[in-house]
Structure formats: C-alpha cells, structure tokens
C-alpha cells in the first residue's frame, strides 16, 4: 500500500507532460487533466482511510538505505489536507472547462493552462507528503512556479504588475527557506523531519529559537500571517476567477500546514506561543478591517482570506490538542468555502459585468440561483450556526477558553468580533450586489450589463460551483467524524511518536 504514496505527485506531473503534448487537441487535453485529478482524489481518499486505520504510511523513494533517501510520509493530517485540496482542484478545473463553445472559439486560447494547473496540483501534493525539509522546499517551488505562470496568464499590464510583487515576495521567502535549511543541516546533519524531531531538542535553546523563527517567518509569508500578509490582497484579485479560487483555497493553506507540521514535530515545547497568539489576533482583526473597507468583491474576499488564516494560527498558537484539532478542522472547512466564494464571484462578474459593489445591483432578482450560490457559502464563512464555519469556530473558541490565559481570552473575543465583522462584510456584498435595485448609473459611467436579461450563466460553471457549495454544506453533516479524525490527528502530532516510529527504522536517530 506504500506504493500509493508517490501517485498524488507523479500522476499530475505525468498528466502535465501529456497535456502539454496534447496542446493541439483541446478535448483530449481536457479529458487527460480531469481524469488525472479525479484519480488523485481517489488515491487521497484511500490514503485517508488507510492512515486512519493503520497509522502513518512511509515510502523511502529510490531504495537507498533507510535514513539516507527521500521519504514520503502520509499521516492523518497530510492525507486529510491532500483529500480536501484534491477535491477542490478537481472541481475548479471542471469549473474552468465549463465555458461555452462559442466563447472558446471567439477568444484567443492558450494551451498552457491545463499543464500548469496540473503542476500546481503536483506541487501541493508534494508539499503535503514531504517527509523532509528539502522536499518540502521543492514542493513549495513547484507550486510557486506554476502559480507565477497562472497569475500572469495572458500577460496583461495589470497582471504583470500584480505578478511582480507576488514573484518577488515568493522569491524572498524561498531564499529565507534555503537559508533555514542550510542552517538546520549545519546544526543537525540531516533534513529528515523525523530525525530532526530527535536531534533538534539537543541543540542549544538559543540556536533552536533562531531556527524556529526563520522557519516561522518563511511559512508565515506563504500563509499570509499579518505583518507578512500585505502581498496577498494586492496580487490575488487580478488573476482569472478559477485561478484566484484555487490560490485562495490552497496556497496559503500549504503554508499553514507547514506551520502546523514544524510547530508540532520539530519545536514541540515552543517558547513562541505568545508571539503566535499576537500574530493570530492581529491577522484576524486587521484582515477583517481591511475587508470591510473594500468595495471590490475579489479584494474583499482576499482580505477575509487573510483574516481567517488568523483562526488557524489561533489554534496552532494554543499548542494544545483541542487547539490543533480546531485548526485542522478549520483549515479543511476554509479551503472549501474560500474557493467556492471566489468561484461564485467569477459567476457574479460574468452576470453583472463587474465585481465592484458600486456597479452591481439587483442580482438576486435577475438570477436567484446565483443568489443562493453566494448566500450559502457567505453565511458559512461568517459562521452562522448550522454550517461548518460555526462548528470550526466554536471548537477553536472552546480550545481558547480551555487554555485560560489572558491572551487566549483576548483571542476568543477577537475571534468572535472577526466572525461578526465577516458577517457584516458578507451582508454588505449581499445588500449591494444582490438586494438593492439596479443603480441608475454607475460611478464609472458605463451602461450596466446587468440589465440585459439574455445573459445566461454557463451550466457547467453553475453546476460545479453548486457542487462545491454542497461539499461545504456537507462538511456539517460529517462534522462529527471529521472532528474526531482531526482530534486523532492532533493527538498523533502532539505526541510525535507515531510519525517518528513509522518513518525511522528502530534505533536510528
């Protein structure tokens, strides 16, 4: 069964090559890429089942003697992340294929989209499965390179501008990551995570602190934690809707995953809990205040994305079982919901001709389906009771109260305020874009596309968005088992033993 492990990386990479060759045959290209991603979903589901039942799976690639080669590891956390992310990537790919035939023929097509998308998926899988720091770095680079291409797709002036900031910030974080790896290798003589978890605690506490700070900075840039989050709302909104959706869902979460992994496995009893709590609080509050100030839906959603990363860091900073379980559950929930919202915003743009709240209006009357598609995930994001956002937030708040410290209570209050302000931001979109009458004229002065009743949303896009909305609602129905799973994953990681025992042969350090 261990041989399943490289498949989530290999399949998309092979698929990317094939899709590139098939660039002249769009139909074959579409079939290839969707089949490959569907296969990854199945593999990931199998991995979730296997790891939950039999413990972590390990594969030493290349048949080197055991502590020497590159290890791929799937434990409960990584296989859950893999499953959620592969479902989301698959759906977004199908969404982007849902455009009408007429439209495709009219516009200049490029055949690079599918291969790049598959490489992105391979990079995300590799980052989740990596058993050593350097492989994690390679995974990050794969997904970053794919994201550079996707973000600057078409090479318009605006995208080049946004892409420059994004590429430079990513390059800086990659350089820092390399420095961290070099220092860790110099100090411990290995980059394998399991070995590091045994060797790092033997180092001088000050050296440990430096290494931990560098790694945290790197992953916080990727995850857009507050002082390092300014790049995100600047660069994401310019990309095409499906690209923004998959970026928002996955890329930051890979950073969160890396933070969870290193905080538990490498730096178990960390002195930085307080620092992380402050970062979580600032991320939540400042992010959501930024969202309220925006009048562009895409920018607003980018800010809510930053703000809700704060919830996950909140869970991590508590460094308790309940905190980690909450963070894991919240990550799974948030990947789905944030992606859905960005996809629906893509639909809003098609139907209303704009994503600016100043120009939109009357969408609920014009397209009730769109109204439902937006309303459900928006309420889910804000954390209205029946939905999974509520369950995740309650879990985190309970963990905060359990901690009992003054700062933890501040975080609990901050979390509630953020949730309410998210509701306010979502209500603002709902009121202005959906409920108010169609504005007479827009500040920009262009006639509204919205008035034309003839615009129909492509069925494929509506169906795939509806599917993701349903997945988001479905998380509520499986919340019990899923939270139990997250609990078990948190227990595993806090003790660290199952991971280390599975990876290393007995007696090796």
């Amino acid at each position: 069964m261990n041989n399943l492990l490289p498949l989530p990386v290999l399949l998309p990479l092979l698929g990317a090559g094939l899709a590139l060759v098939l660039g002249r045959h769009p139909r074959a290209q579409r079939v290839t890429s969707s089949t490959v991603l569907l296969a990854v979903v199945l593999v990931a589901a199998t991995l979730v089942f296997l790891t939950d039942r039999y413990g972590p799976l390990v594969l030493w690639v290349g048949a080197w003697p055991e502590p020497l080669g590159v290890a791929l590891v799937a434990d409960r956390l990584s296989s859950l992340m893999l499953l959620v992310s592969s479902i989301v990537t698959f759906t977004v790919l199908v969404f982007s294929m849902g455009q009408g035939v007429e439209e495709r023929k009219r516009e200049t097509p490029i055949s690079i989209y599918h291969p790049t998308f598959l490489v992105l998926s391979a990079g995300v899988s590799n980052a989740f499965l990596a058993g050593d720091l350097f492989n994690l770095f390679v995974g990050f680079e794969m997904l970053l390179f794919a994201s550079y291409v996707l973000l600057t797709l078409g090479g318009t002036g605006e995208r080049i501008r946004a892409g420059t900031t994004y590429v430079l910030v990513s390059v800086l974080s990659s350089l820092l990551f390399l420095i961290a790896i070099a220092c860790i290798y110099a100090a411990c003589g290995t980059v394998n995570l399991a070995q590091l978890s045994l060797r790092l605690p033997e180092l001088d506490p000050d050296v440990q602190l430096i290494l931990q700070l560098v790694l945290l900075t790197v992953f916080s840039i990727k995850a857009a934690v507050f002082p390092l989050s300014a790049w995100l709302p600047d660069s994401y909104p310019t990309a095409p809707a499906p690209v923004t959706a998959v970026f928002a869902g996955l890329l930051t979460k890979v950073g969160v995953y890396a933070i969870i992994r290193t905080q538990t496995l490498l730096f178990g009893d960390s002195p930085l809990s307080g620092l992380l709590m402050w970062a979580a609080l600032a991320t939540m509050i400042i992010g959501i205040l930024g969202a309220i100030a925006q009048s562009e839906i895409k920018r607003m959603l980018s800010f809510t994305l930053v703000s809700h990363i704060g919830y996950m860091i909140f869970g991590v900073s508590l460094a308790s079982e309940a905190g980690f379980a909450g963070a894991i559950f919240y990550t799974a929930h948030h990947i789905t919901i944030q992606t859905t919202l960005f996809l629906v915003t893509g639909l809003i743009e098609r139907r209303g001709g704009s994503t600016s709240l100043n120009d939109l209006g009357g969408l609920a009357a014009l397209s009730p389906v769109l109204g439902v598609l937006f309303f459900v995930p928006a309420m889910n994001l804000a954390g209205i009771p029946p939905f999974s956002g509520f369950i995740g937030k309650v879990g985190l708040l309970e963990a905060g109260v359990q901690n009992g410290g003054a700062l933890a209570y501040a975080l609990v209050i901050g979390g509630v305020i953020t949730s309410l302000l998210t509701l306010y931001a979502m209500a603002k979109v709902w009121n202005r874009a959906f409920w108010r009458a169609v504005p007479e004229s827009t500040p920009a002065g262009n006639p509204l596309v919205v008035r034309r009743r003839s615009i129909l949303l492509p069925r494929g896009m509506v169906v795939t968005s509806a599917f993701l909305v349903l997945v988001g609602v479905g998380i509520t129905f499986v919340a019990g088992p899923l939270y139990g799973y997250a609990d078990r994953a948190a227990t595993d990681m806090l003790s660290g033993l199952p991971y280390v025992q599975a990876v290393l042969p007995a007696g090796v350090r």
């Binding site: 769009p26 439209e103 495709r104 516009e107 350089l175 070099a182 290798y185 110099a186 600047d234």
Partner: protein
C-alpha cells in the same frame, strides 16, 4: 565542526548586496539582486557541508575522507530553480517593457486611490482645526487642491476601467482550448 570564514563572509556580502539591489524599482536590477542573493545562499550550503575533502564518487575515495555530498545535491537543485526563476523574471521584465516602455514595479492602483482619499481627509481636518471662524459665504473659490485630487481620482477610475476591459479579454483564455480561426 569547523567552517571556512572566507565562505561565510563572501556569502554574507553577496546576500546583503542582493537584498540591497532587490529594493530597487527596476526589474532588471532586482533580477541581479536575486541572482546575487541566490548565490550567497548557495555558498551557505557549502559552509553547511563542513570540512572539504575528497570528491564524493564511488571508488575514488581510497580510504580518504570524502565531502558530504548531500548539500551539493541541494545546491544543484537550488541552482536549477534559480535558473528557471531568472528566465521567468527576464520574461516579465521584457513584457513590462513592451507594455509600459520601462520595467519598473508599479504601485497598486487601489492603494494609490486610498492614499489619495486619506490625504484629502487630512486636508479638510486641518482646515477646521486652524480656523475657528465660520467660512465666509461669498468665498466660493473651489479649493484647487481638492480639484486636483478629484482629477486624480477620475484618472484612477479610468485606469481601473481599462484594467477591467483587459481582464474581460483574457479571462476566457483559461479554457485553454479551441484554435483561433479554425
């Protein structure tokens, strides 16, 4: 573990020079900065590999110590990644040159708009503070600064519209299929 001071110093100089260059606005200078910093980091891996010794090939050591091959493998990977990155950055700089005639990193349009709004707010607040008397009613001269900012806002608005149009044109690209004119 003993390590070479020269390597450390050179690596430090390269990284700091690279970071300094990265703070420039022109993409080509930033690119040079990225290259220098990248090479500095690569040298750091050589420091991490410890005392240099024989080449790490099978059957060439003949009982001598060999260098640690793992950091060298990592450096090779990092070099390849930097190569790809260089190509991509060069393309972006060229594209930027094609579009704007220069390769400077621009500010975010919306950010600039918000900054201008904030500046407009500040101006009116200071007016109230300094002058406690009621403004005379026949003083109907419009504030020139205000007018200027309104113009700027309009220009930003136009820029945004232009951007939206460009986005519309490229949004459909991502379906990634169908040949033009076939």
């Amino acid at each position: 573990m003993s390590s070479s001071l020269t390597l450390l110093v050179v690596s430090g100089v390269l990284i700091s020079a690279g970071v300094y260059l990265m703070m420039e606005r022109s993409l080509t200078r930033i690119l040079v900065g990225v290259l220098m910093a990248g090479n500095g980091v690569n040298l750091l891996f050589l420091v991490a590999s410890g005392v240099p010794a024989g080449a790490p090939f099978i059957d060439t050591d003949r009982g001598r110590d060999i260098s640690d091959p793992l950091p060298q493998a990592m450096v090779l990977t990092a070099i390849v990644i930097t190569l790809g990155l260089t190509a991509f950055l060069l393309t972006m700089a060229y594209r930027s040159f094609q579009l704007h005639g220069h390769d400077e990193v621009a500010d975010d349009v919306e950010d600039r708009q918000i900054v201008r709004l904030a500046e407009a707010d500040l101006a009116s607040a200071s007016y109230d503070e300094d002058d406690k008397s009621m403004p005379s009613e026949d003083d109907s001269d419009p504030d020139p600064a205000e007018e200027g900012s309104a113009e700027q806002l309009a220009a930003d608005q136009a820029e945004r519209q232009q951007r939206d149009a460009a986005e519309d044109a490229t949004d459909r690209i991502i379906s990634g299929e169908g040949r033009p004119g076939s």
